[in-house]
């Protein structure tokens, strides 16, 4: 029997039991839909993390004090474990692969301008920091050397901060604002950066000289909680991080074999770390989703077995008029494959649709990749073949006379 005829027969038989076919497909539909949307969520969060990390700047290396790196917070204790200005200057002086270097002091607080107020985060940085992070000033100026030396009360503000503190007719540059009651002069306005990879507002930020934030706002003169460095080129990132490691170990008397009281992270390392965790997550989610595909496959096998039993006389008759076991096998196998492929098709539609819903309703970063659709689809096909084979084989092995006499 040719494929077209088999196809027609299989479609008809599914059509005769519409509700049953649909219910049987449900497992596959749910399975495929969840595999696709799980992979989409995984892929989406991975993409967003990647773009966020790449948004860190160019060829970035970060140094944190403390022995362990826990979710971005470094734990520091004791002077041997701390990073100080001397360390920073030493790196600048003797690491040839380092291009820019800047400490970071973080704070946040209430900002008041006239009758408007706003809450934002404040970062104390060197002028070079803006180069490391590729931050551009739209109007006004950057920090001068004297600003850093004298801990001047000047700041550069992001677009969101400007919008919330000043009306559209006021040029923020030159205006006075108060950050935690300390008066500052706005010397620059940052170019708009928009949303970050996780949906956060990158324009809701205030930069001030490092010494200003460190001394006036944090009341700390010694410890640096984070150093941002950029390597001279992408190829030199690893070399730079090795130079820094060697230098800091020497300065702190730590041998090669001991755990250092500081942490050096390069941008590439961070990307790798996040992608590997998100890969694990993705595999886990897709694995759970594929269980429902297998359950769906068992559903197909179950219904196909029922169908074979119900249609034993039909099988007997087909054999009596000349169908070979092979013909019967093909007929039922095609029916099972059609069931799971149809389920796969509907499931793929649902999967893509629900991924879109995640994007629009929950604002999640979701990416439907074509490979996930192909993967889920071929998985559905394999399940159809695998779980259809046994019932179809059972039908094919029937003896015509017994099948005809079956009641």
């Amino acid at each position: 029997m040719n494929l077209l005829n088999l196809f027609v027969i299989a479609l008809r038989s599914l059509n005769k039991n519409k509700i049953r076919s649909l219910l049987t497909m449900l497992g596959i539909i749910i399975g495929v839909a969840s595999v696709i949307s799980m992979l989409a969520i995984g892929q989406g969060s991975r993409d967003s993390i990647e773009s966020q990390i790449s948004g860190l700047g160019s060829n970035v290396i970060m140094v944190f004090p403390g022995a362990t790196f826990r979710g971005g917070v470094a734990t520091a204790a004791g002077s041997a474990q701390s990073l100080e200005m001397d360390d920073l200057e030493a790196i600048r002086a003797s690491c040839p692969s380092v291009k820019y270097i800047s400490p970071v002091a973080r704070s946040n607080g209430q900002i008041i301008a006239g009758s408007n107020n706003w809450n934002s985060s404040i970062r104390g940085v060197f002028n070079e920091y803006l180069d490391i992070r590729n931050v551009e000033v739209e109007s006004g100026s950057r920090f001068s050397e004297t600003d850093e030396k004298r801990a001047s009360k000047v700041c550069i503000i992001g677009q969101t901060v400007a919008e919330n503190l000043f009306d559209e007719y006021t040029d923020p540059v030159g205006e006075k604002i108060r950050i935690n009651k300390i008066p500052f002069t706005v010397i620059g306005l940052l170019k708009e950066k928009g949303q970050g990879g996780m949906g956060e507002d990158q324009d809701d930020i205030i930069y001030a000289p490092f010494s200003t934030v460190q001394r006036r706002m944090r009341g700390d003169r010694q410890n640096i909680s984070q150093i941002f460095i950029s390597a001279v080129s992408e190829e030199k990132i690893k070399l730079a991080s090795e130079e820094i490691d060697e230098l800091l170990r020497k300065r702190k008397n730590i041998s090669k074999y001991e755990d250092p009281p500081f942490n050096i992270r390069t941008q590439t390392e961070i990307v790798e770390m996040f992608t590997s965790t998100s890969n694990t997550m993705m595999v886990l989610l897709a694995g759970i989703a594929s269980i429902s595909l297998i359950v769906g496959g068992i559903g197909i096998m179950n219904i196909m077995l029922v169908s074979v039993t119900e249609r034993t006389r039909e099988i007997g008759l087909r054999m009596a008029v000349g169908a070979r076991g092979k013909d019967i096998l093909r007929q039922f196998l095609l029916e099972a494959i059609l069931l799971s492929l149809l389920g796969g098709l509907i499931g793929a539609a649902f999967g893509i649709l629900s991924s879109r819903l995640f994007v629009t309703i929950m604002d999640w970063p979701v990416t439907v990749s074509s490979y996930s659709v192909v993967l889920a689809f071929s998985f559905a096909f394999i399940i159809g073949v695998f779980f259809g084979w046994y019932p179809a084989g059972k039908a094919a092995r029937l003896i015509p006379m017994d099948a005809l006499r079956f009641e």
Binding site: G316, L317, R318, A320, A323, G325
Partner: protein, 264 residues
């Protein structure tokens, strides 16, 4: 007639055919050494009580089953030791089988039911398949019913569709196991009329029946008893189904039913 018989080709030739059903504890000897020939153009009726082995023989002749022992030649080919696929091919190309219970595919039109055997013959293309199925339906007088589903047809009509299906692959022999067993007298005679017409066209037919008056429509009667042939009779006054039908009192109710069916 007799001299002609000698020249005719043997369509079926069995010798020392036996069939034992092994039921574990008991062995049922359904056939105990059958020798018989069926020649081209013959119309044979196989008679006998229930359980005498008629169906067993017909199933073996129809390649639906294999003998335990003995030789079976169908159209000059030894089919006693064919494998499953070869038997399927034989059933498809050489045999037309008619069952007592019609065995039509439900929710499938009469035409498509008749087309079914040709679906398993890759040599027949779509167009030819339709034409041959229509011709076959015409031979049994059901041209107007080709689009009807089995549940829209009377028992007699369903059996005629089954006969059309058996004819469609141009078999060397038509085998019918109690084809009138589920039908009333009038419809039985109508079915027998079709068999007689087909036989007149030269088609070889062997049918199984336990009703004596049905067997009288065939030229030769073979009587079975306990898995053996006990008697072979050549019928001198073969009944003519057309005449017999005319002799039946007109059955108005049935006529009405036919009319109503046609309206549907």
């Amino acid at each position: 007639m007799k001299e002609q018989d000698q020249e005719r080709k043997k369509i079926i030739s069995v010798s020392n055919l036996s069939k034992i059903y092994d039921m574990g504890a008991v062995k049922v000897h359904a056939l105990r050494g059958i020798d018989m020939d069926i020649k081209e153009g013959e119309f044979t009726a196989i008679m006998g009580h229930s359980g005498s082995g008629k169906s067993t023989l017909l199933n073996i002749l129809g390649c639906l089953d294999v003998p335990t022992e003995g030789k079976y030649y169908l159209d000059d080919a030894d089919v006693s030791h064919l494998n499953k696929n070869q038997l399927a091919r034989m059933r498809n190309r050489k045999i037309g089988f008619v069952f007592q219970t019609y065995n039509l595919l439900p929710r499938t039109s009469a035409l498509e039911n008749v087309e079914l055997p040709m679906l398993y013959n890759p040599e027949i293309r779509r167009k030819e398949r339709k034409d041959r199925a229509m011709n076959s339906l015409e031979l049994v007088g059901l041209t107007d019913w080709s689009g009807h589903f089995p549940n829209q047809l009377s028992g007699g009509q369903q059996q005629r569709v089954a006969i059309a299906r058996a004819l469609v692959n141009d078999p060397v022999i038509m085998l019918a196991d109690e084809p009138t067993g589920n039908l009333d007298t009038r419809t039985s005679f109508e079915v027998m009329k079709i068999f007689q017409e087909l036989n007149e066209k030269g088609i070889t037919i062997a049918l199984v029946t336990h009703e004596a008056d049905i067997s009288k429509f065939a030229a030769r009667n073979i009587l079975f008893r306990d898995g053996r042939i006990s008697k072979v009779t050549i019928i001198k006054n073969i009944k003519d189904a057309r005449e017999e039908l005319e002799k039946l009192p007109p059955e108005d109710e049935e006529m009405e039913e036919e009319k109503i069916n046609k309206l549907i």
